[in-house]
Subunit: 487 residues, 4 copies
């Protein structure tokens, strides 16, 4: 049974044009004017865009002694309600350190719950021969082409420079892409101790102990290591000018570095932590913390300039009760905020409606760019014949105030609460199924989502490898006559 999305303006990362979109089963089969199908989905007055991809979520993640409260079911349904049809979750090795077992765990957790498609980034939280070996299977057998490295969370997830180098080199060999959480974990810990020692225990201490310089430093370091290892690099949650500057500087040397700001950092600022209400401030605790407005301006410019490519959420939602674990000590407040459901609408409202971004750039940074980086384009991230029918009918006339009472996320608050967004998905399709329809009492369809396998050796990886091979240092050949005979 076919569906035709009629009457809308298709917007891709390239262009916008009036056309209908015909869907057969899970795929887009035709884009043209005046198409017909068994079922009509009304897009009159709306945009027809590729479903959003959020490449940075932590659903049900065990972290800081608790587990992120958003489930794969609630998270993927909230995503759909917000116009996002795929998310990439971070898979963390368990106590046995095995990558493959961790994937099995994540599959077990997600399989029966997910309402839309997912994939995983694999975290490298230590280094040994087993990790080295398993990485090949992760890439080649499990279809995961990205590995995450934490430069912070010392004593827990953090890896050292030589471990990063080893893992990055392994990524280069396997055609995979390393990701980093860029903050200097040593110095974060030192500043945490300093502020605690001074009796500064509230959520504002979280922000003070993770200043922009600490993020910029780590970004800069990761870039150098990736360059030495000969591999592209993707820096998650770029929150500040310092990290962004490091990225720009690298790119201007021809290095292939990507940067991902979060919708939170684009729209919320550090004054949130100074709120007189502890719970209000604690809800906003995430790493990196929100920054001041100068940093926001830097991030926005990066999106239009192309030095930053992707807008994500780092959705890691903890309940009010969980946040209270850090009541006397900000370092034990579970780190994370939500955003999965609001990412698209918030970016449209503050980006497209203000003229900072074109509609095409909106599509690029919410979907197409990350699909290319993850090497799943145009299966995902595109409106083109043959692509998965992950499509959103995006209605720029629906205005809505963000409210916990109406959200699909199961968290008991929302960092965007009270803000008005000026667009919403009228319909969200995941591989041809309508999984969200505005005002139609849509319900979650757990278990219908699939795991998306991603092939290695994206085009940028291949180009960089070629360049590095051609430019590798050469041995100087010396005549034995010109070498002394020894000590």
């Amino acid at each position: 049974m076919s569906k035709v999305i009629k009457g809308g303006t298709v917007v891709t990362a390239d262009r916008s044009w009036r056309a209908d979109v015909l869907v057969e089963g899970e795929k887009i089969v035709e884009i043209a004017e005046n198409l017909s199908g068994d079922e009509v989905i009304d897009a009159e007055g709306a945009y027809v865009i590729p479903g959003g991809i959020d490449p940075h979520t932590h659903l049900e993640m065990p972290f800081m002694g608790t587990t992120a409260a958003e489930t794969f079911e609630s998270g993927t349904f909230a995503a759909a309600a917000g116009g996002t049809t795929m998310l990439v979750d971070f898979c963390l090795p368990g106590e046995d350190g095995s990558l493959l077992n961790a994937i099995d765990d994540w599959d077990r957790k997600s399989r029966d719950q997910i309402c839309c498609d997912v994939s995983y980034h694999m975290a490298i939280t230590g280094w040994d021969e087993n990790v080295f070996n398993e990485m090949a299977d992760v890439v080649n057998k499990r279809g995961i082409n990205t590995f995450k490295h934490f430069m912070a969370y010392k004593g827990a997830l953090m890896v050292e420079d030589d471990e990063m180098y080893a893992s990055f080199k392994r990524c280069a060999e396997l055609g995979a892409l390393p990701l980093v959480h860029a903050e200097n974990g040593d110095i974060v810990q030192e500043l945490q101790q300093k502020y605690l020692a001074e009796g500064l225990t509230g959520p504002e201490g979280h922000a003070y102990s993770r200043p922009p310089e600490i993020e910029g430093e780590a970004a800069n370091r990761a870039i150098m290591i990736a360059d030495a290892a000969g591999v592209p690099l993707y820096i998650v949650h770029v929150s500040c000018e310092q990290a962004h500057e490091a990225i720009r500087r690298a790119r201007q040397k021809g290095m292939r570095v990507y940067g991902e700001p979060l919708i939170q950092h684009l729209t919320l600022d550090e004054s949130e932590y100074f709120n007189k209400d502890w719970q209000y401030a604690a809800r906003r605790v995430m790493s990196p913390p929100f920054r001041n407005k100068e940093h926001q301006a830097s991030l926005w410019a990066g999106l239009s300039a192309g030095s930053l490519q992707v807008v994500a959420t780092d959705h890691a939602a903890f309940s009010d009760e969980q946040k209270r674990l850090g009541l006397d000590n900000f370092t034990t407040i579970p780190n994370g905020t939500g955003g999965l459901e609001e990412r698209m609408a918030m970016l449209w409202t503050t980006g497209v409606e203000t003229g900072r971004l074109t509609p095409e750039e909106f599509v690029a940074v919410t979907s197409s760019n990350i699909a290319k980086i993850l090497n799943i384009y145009p299966m995902k991230g595109a409106i083109t014949p043959g692509a998965d029918a992950d499509i959103v009918v995006w209605d720029p006339t629906i205005s809505k105030e963000v409210a916990v009472s109406t959200q699909k996320s199961i968290i008991d608050y929302n960092v965007f609460e009270g803000m008005t967004v000026t667009a919403q998905p009228r319909f969200t399709l995941s591989r041809g199924d309508v999984i969200w329809a505005w005002g139609k009492n849509s319900q979650p369809q757990p278990g219908r989502g699939k795991f998306v396998r991603r092939p290695a050796f994206a085009s940028a990886s291949k180009a960089l490898s070629k360049w590095k091979a051609l430019n590798t240092p050469r041995k100087i050949e010396r005549d034995p006559m010109n070498i002394p005979s020894g000590v």
Copy 2:
């Protein structure tokens, strides 16, 4: 009669995939595996890419007391032989100053000669009410959405800052895009006089009198004026780090500025002017002149980083005899070099084969990006159903030494002479017609090319206008009580 391009790998600015391309008449109608058509064009082992677009040529241009020797016929045929299926020529007002008459002139010159499609940029070489008025017709009636401004060539083409501002503002109103040749004409003239006065009359004086700082300054100035006028800006022939830095700096503030390096500046350096053979050096005289290798590295990085978007040629070819007009005085050597025929192959060889660029980036910077900037995408610059069948079957196995003896350009030398390129167009199609087939003794088909009309108000223009309108300074309302009663 349909044609099917079979067995190749389609490469667009987005992606690469194995597919056949079906062409009906002038248009691409389908892209899929296993297509068939009336005629088969063999793409086995080759890439199938959008025809190149060279947005910067000066064919038969009256300049510096002579006329560029490359004709519309020879130029467009050379283009086709090199894989370029569209070029945008600069249309200069004549003595009457009328823009519309100039377009008529250019049409008259080009119409019966062009072998592939063309469009024009309109030059603004002075400012008055008539120019102001004609600009609307140029855009709305003649389909030209770009206006060129020369900041150099004092006493001839050069315009002053207030004229640029006026024209840029007019562009903003009309949804057109201003272009600039960025060199400080005042200081160029001063340095020319200085070197001539010192008896330094050879072609090296051309390079000395146009140092990078002079280009960077003008680029920086044009960017400020465009920002003040609220319009995007396109800077032609970006040859040096200084101009590139100004562009990067602007983009990082959210300004919408584009930069166009030339294939010559990417691959040739200033030492060419120091050649002991006068004629050799004079052939390379163009503005801006070639730079040193540090500048080349900057330009290459800009292409992969996205701070530069387009590779062009500024093809303005003068014969050896014409060059000798400046035998005793470098300032009278007609400025210009060729490159139309070699742009694609040189960029592939030095860019893609070295890993500096991916194949997709190659397509972006030779074709798709400029099509988007000129607002004719995806009619041009794309391999997609509905697009013009301007297609090149790009064969990465044909190696060739650049030689005057085999070139299609009618100029008696070639600045790339003796260099080996490692790819060539196997077939070049212009709106479905094969206009070049390697080794098949293709002949020019003058008069088959068409003028391409370009609509105003590209997406970036609209976004910028929205931003500027929202951020325009606001009047402070003052109570009459707080305003003194006068002097």
Copy 3:
């Protein structure tokens, strides 16, 4: 009769140490512990610093149809009261265009009024052979080694790029230093017309029509022209990051460029123009206008980093009544504010007391640096044997609220009104004379001040000339065999 300044801490640009200072007549003769002299000046608990030098004043300047209200008498007395013992005023050619006559005029105006020493910068407001010729006499006979160029005030003082180049080259020959007021006068005028046309006539329009980009552009352009002419450059009233960035970029290429922020731009911001009281806002109208706090941070960092060298005032004070000339049109509000009297105290309070500057840096940027740049160090700007006894006993324990009622300036308002400064001169000595003593009812001593002659060819000028001579482009020698025989 000798004087000994006893018990203080001498602070120079180099260092701080406990010592007495012995003055004989007009000169410092000894610095050591336990000195004695005929008269004792008590410096117990205070710093002993070189008298401030304000290199940027406009006393009694005819401008915008009126004349700056601060006289040479009131201005130099206000200076003394604030710890400034020398100022450099801008000498503007009159209708006859003669530089030498202008100096005579300025001498006539100042001679009988000045309470402390002065010098002049000579303005170049047009270019012809007479100006070229007179410049030599200005430097060699009149002892003026600086020439000011206005890139703004179109139709009045503004010069074009080729005129600047010509004058800068002349400066290079004469060993003089060019100065620029850096704003793009063309675009300022365009924006003025735009805002007026929109009915935006209030003082805020002044700020809107002179945005930071316009200043940055001009600074960048002047730097390029100075580089082409082979001469150092001094940019007056650097008010924003854009101009500062251009300076830093130039310096990092080895260019010799100096930047002078004003005390106003370091401490006041653009919100002043949004004041609901017209007169309040109009009093702050000066060019460039005050900027936002990000720009302030840039300027402060420049002072400690050494990329900016001098803090001045651009003291050009117009009365409330004069300001009302622009009641209906901000472009006719006379441009200028005061600051001569508060410069030292404001900088101490906001710079040294906050730790942004060391006491030594305070001395450097208020006195020693400009003395070196003007090539009159250590006659001025130093506490060293042989130097002029221009000395301030600077008391960091006197706190004072800036108030019109107590100021020595004759203007009827003060842009720092109501602010508290935490240091004041206890005594100000000019060539050995006490011209100001806190709380002692000091009176102006008009006519005691002298004109300070400044020699050409400062050390940086000589070094730059040497570098430029060694690096001048060289002619390529070509065998006649390799030069064609002509057209």
Copy 4:
């Protein structure tokens, strides 16, 4: 018995003037024209400058399994012969880890040998409570106000980020200045292993394994850590644009960071390592390695712009035989080159004679700046009454080819061999004693040198502490009503 230095031009960091200098005992007592004394030192036609200070030497240092061959006697005599009158050597803790014992060791080694004055930097090569405690004594009892940290030499001298932070904080408390050797030791080691594994064992491998990015990264990291700890920072042997860029970026944020290029990096380039003669190349092995000419240009510009302050040598001289310890493995070639004797003459020749530096800047970067940074100005680094009579009569007419045969260093080669320098010390005075006289067969005077004690809390340290204290984050005071009652 007094000495008068007659007929010369005194050059300081501030200015140049004709004057005689009168020395009584160890001190300068007067500077004026026409002085007389018991003994006349002829300075006719020469400059009279402060003795050079080389703040970076490793004499007789145990390192990499051997001991630097230059002794305190030969080193200090070579220094004197080159116009350097003070050097600061690096004191490394021995196996017991005690800082105080290390100082005793160094004293024992140096005391009877030194011909001129010395001081030490204390190295922090690990962190524990004893080090923390001893640091106070090092500063307050031993007069050492600088602590060196190695970010490279993993497994030997290297410290981790948290150790650096702890030590930097301790420096802040004590008013001391941390120094860093900035290279990422982890990545250096990885690259060393990589190249060795590829069979690339020659000296060029040393350069390949320590690319500029690795230095830039470490510099950037150290700067962040210093900023977090609230202390100024001095980066030794800045060899490349990357490290210099990090310094400039920091300074432009108001951070107090100093950079020290070496004379070797200013004048020699990486091609030295590609020499076909193994021994030639091995002699040049030092860390960081020599860089290409673009980096040299960056360093030179930094000296004139003020973003780099000091020119040193890192004199650590190993004999040919010692170098052959790394015959089969570049990682075991002892790192180090000489330069102590040539620093002044090479910098004069390539800096002042070319116009890159003024004579005053030459004095600043060879002597005065480091004296200020080390808080011993004007006892050292100045020509002023009361200063130590460490004076050089600098003769710009003595041209000399650098040659092992004539050098005073006892090393069997010289990295500047064959180069011509165009100035030499005619006389070198150390605290009033002539310790070198050109052409007079001067002999070392071992044991006459003294250890120079340096007080803590230099002016920049105090200012920074004040700024940090004023800008420390503040606790948000929350009403108990607004804090939840617990989990």
